[in-house]
Amino acid sequence: MTKRKDITPSPEAETKTQGSAAEAEVATSTGIPRRAFMTGTAATVTAAAVLPNLRMARAAETGPVKIGHIEDLSGNLAVYGVQKYHAALLAVKEINEGKTLKGGPVGSGGLGSMAKFAAAPPVMGNGDKDLKYVSDGGAMTGAGMAFVEDEDVLVDSGDSGLLGREVELIAPDGQSNNNIWQQLTRRLILEDKVDCLVAGFTSAEREAIRPIVDQHKQLYIYTNQYEGGVADSNTFCTGAIVEQQVIPVVDYMIQKFGPRVYTIAADYNFGQLTAAWTKAFAPLVGGEIIEEEFVPLSVSDFTTSIARIQAAKPDWVFTLLVGSNQSNYYPQAAAAGLEYPMASTVNMAQGYEHRRFAPPSLNRMYNCVNYIEEIPTVRNRAFVKRWYEMFPDDPYIGQMAQNTYFSIHLYALAARLAGTTDQETVKKALESGLTIEAPEGAVFLEPSTHHCSHYIRLATADANHNVSFVREWPSIQPWWLQRVGVNLVKHKEYKQYIPDEDPFFTMFAK
């Protein structure tokens, strides 16, 4: 949603609604003329939502808890959508079997995080007399995990299903078609009346359904990694965002390979925004974007781009390519003998390019991810094992699949905390500083921005496409929305912020 001014409500429109303060709030901050929202359904839903005795008002607290789930099970994006669908099935099955991921309102950090700690405490003061200074004592500072890794983070929930009700997954196919996404969202909200909506791969899909979500104040969880900036009271973004992925990898790559960066990005919101972040951040760590190229999603012949990269002679290439056409870049570049190191935030962990393409197409690829199937921790190995027991034929478990998996558990956690599936109450529970022990590590849902901190890992592929990890950041916060002043707990908002609204993006550029 962009910056818009709104129409002042006219008096006759005011009388038509059943006096809903919450609704006026929606209207003034979305930018859609407020009268637009006054369908009968919207008015009733809102009215119900603001009633104090909401648990009584909702007679529908019997029968199954409905989780709506839309992903692309066919069409161009099916390679990602099927994984996410399977993740949802797995999570729902576990909830119904009385299991849950560990977690609760314990704040950032979770069960543990990477930390520096003193092996032995320093001695305060000189002898026991003067406590004014710290001695040089103690052992060398060590670094390591500040917790003992659990066998598994999946534990008994003490609940049968969710609040004693069975959880039902309603998961129609979005068919990689934004129109169908809109239809399905309307259907799930108006006809199926789902308690929670978990949906969306591309930003386009999310932006297509978000106005509908806001119109009906539907609790919505978007589980994909994306370009960041969504500040929406009804939406919870559980995927990693640019500041969590781009900045670490750019920092690492500049230190390791050199300052001259060539960015080749998909020409749509995600690519454009991620490139903007890279451009803004590179100077801070001594880098320089020598050239940016945006490639239409339909392009599959990269001969010209490869020649341009060769002419520019960068130290490394930042590839933000998306979709099946653009995946062709890797084999083409390899065949043309392009040997620059590459970095990305989108490949391997999503579309398992390192499994699909013949080696060594992805040799020297560095990828900053919050999850990748190859993570060697015990809890992840247990998760992978559970997954393949249920779906033995699946080719890969991607980053977004893991996000969907823990997000549904997170929803269950919040609903148990709220003691109800009433959406407004669950939203408040989600804003209570929840941590969940996901397969990647501890994930903290930051209340004021509705985004998550993540355990970020830098993975790299070698000439045989074996994955190894070169660096880990146990908890990176989503900080940009806080920087621009978003606090959804205090002020409701329904928009997506863009880099233009923050001087950060021009501050350090040369």
């Binding site: 818009r4 930018g31 003329p33 006809e191 386009a204 297509a208 945006f294």
Partner: protein, 347 residues
């Protein structure tokens, strides 16, 4: 008035009998009463089936009556939709904003169609090349719109939005009255009926006869003294504006549009509606556009993966066994039955 009735019921479309008009009236009445009998969700869905009809009618006029096939009419659908989004989105404080958006959208699609039509018809490009060129144009538009994700692509306060599309497009409003929900349904119904009747009048007018003559034999028509280029151009622009009208209703319906609306898959849909219904009848295309939208929408909202296979098969079967369109051929069969039955009673 008499001439208007004469024009409406002239020979340019199927359905001219009293029985037909009674049936037509009953169906319109059912559509008028429908919202009282069902949920807001269903009404919104039916609005969607209705709003696509002008696009189909434009295709019938251009392809069926004038013999020019455009494979890229969704380009004008998209141009009108985006223009409306930009204008109305910038004028949200002004109640005339949406009206200005509608005017701007129609003008923009007419303008682009005018330039493109000039290139094509005044160059006397061979007829079979036109579908390819229109397809190229719409793909070009899709590529262009798809790369407007950057924030330099801002018109006033509205972002074009690139592949993510343009969001938050305002509803249509007249004065202080906002068309959404039920009123939007009636707006769609009104637009569809208005388009249908005006086009019926058009195809029965002298102009309509000449464009049919152009379809039948361009050279012969030109050698009767008609500037066929100008007439093809006019029809092209007109049908582009019809496509634009659908685009306007579409963005008002979903408050949203993306570049994929002008993509390859969407581009084929109006052609399919026209071919399945029967290009040479406006009513047939109205029926098939409504039905096919209903079928695909229902299949897809059940998450059916076979929707495209079904549509494709339907298209092949139609072209093989009903080359003039299912609705047209069924109507002819019915017409023959009724005339046979009524013939003896006539003196």
């Amino acid at each position: 008035m008499k001439t208007i009735i004469g024009l409406i019921s002239g020979g340019g479309d199927i359905g001219r009998t009293r029985v037909f008009w009674i049936g037509f009236g009953v169906i319109v009445l059912l559509f008028l009463l429908y919202p009282t009998q069902t949920s807001a969700f269903r009404v919104s869905n039916v609005s969607y089936y209705l709003l696509n009809i002008p696009l189909g009618l434009g295709m019938a006029l251009l392809w069926g009556y004038c013999g020019v096939l455009s494979f890229g009419h969704v380009a004008y659908f998209g141009i009108a939709g985006y223009t409306y989004g930009v204008i109305a989105g910038n004028m949200t404080e002004n109640p005339l904003g949406p009206l200005a958006g509608v005017a701007g959208g129609l003008l923009a699609s007419a303008f682009i169609a005018g330039i493109f039509g000039y290139f094509v018809f005044y160059a006397r490009v061979q007829k079979w090349i036109i579908p390819i060129l229109t397809l190229v144009l719409t793909l070009l538009l899709e590529t262009f719109l798809g790369q407007t994700a950057g924030y330099q692509w801002r018109i006033g306060s509205v972002l074009l939005g690139g592949y993510n599309g343009m969001t938050g497009i305002p509803w249509f409003q007249l004065g202080g009255f906002v068309f959404e929900g039920y009123s939007f349904y009636y707006l769609c119904l009104f637009v569809v009926l208005a388009c249908y009747f005006s086009l019926r009048m058009l195809v029965n007018s002298n102009f309509g006869q000449v464009i049919v003559a152009i379809r039948e034999d361009e050279v012969r028509t030109e050698l009767l003294g008609y500037d066929i280029r100008a007439r093809q151009w006019v029809v092209f622009v007109l049908s582009a504006m019809l496509a634009g009208l659908s685009g306007l209703l579409y963005v008002q319906w979903g408050n949203y549009i993306t570049p994929s609306q002008v993509g390859l898959l969407q581009a084929a849909l109006p052609v399919i509606w026209a071919a399945v219904g029967g290009t040479t009848s406006l009513l047939a295309v109205v029926i098939s556009a409504f039905t096919l939208n209903w079928v695909t929408y229902t299949l897809s909202s059940q998450g059916n993966q076979y929707a495209m296979v079904i549509i494709g098969t339907l298209l092949v079967v139609t072209m093989l066994f009903f080359p003039r369109g299912i609705v047209v051929m069924v109507a002819e069969r019915l017409g023959r039955l009724t005339t046979r039955r009524t013939a003896p009673s006539k003196p």
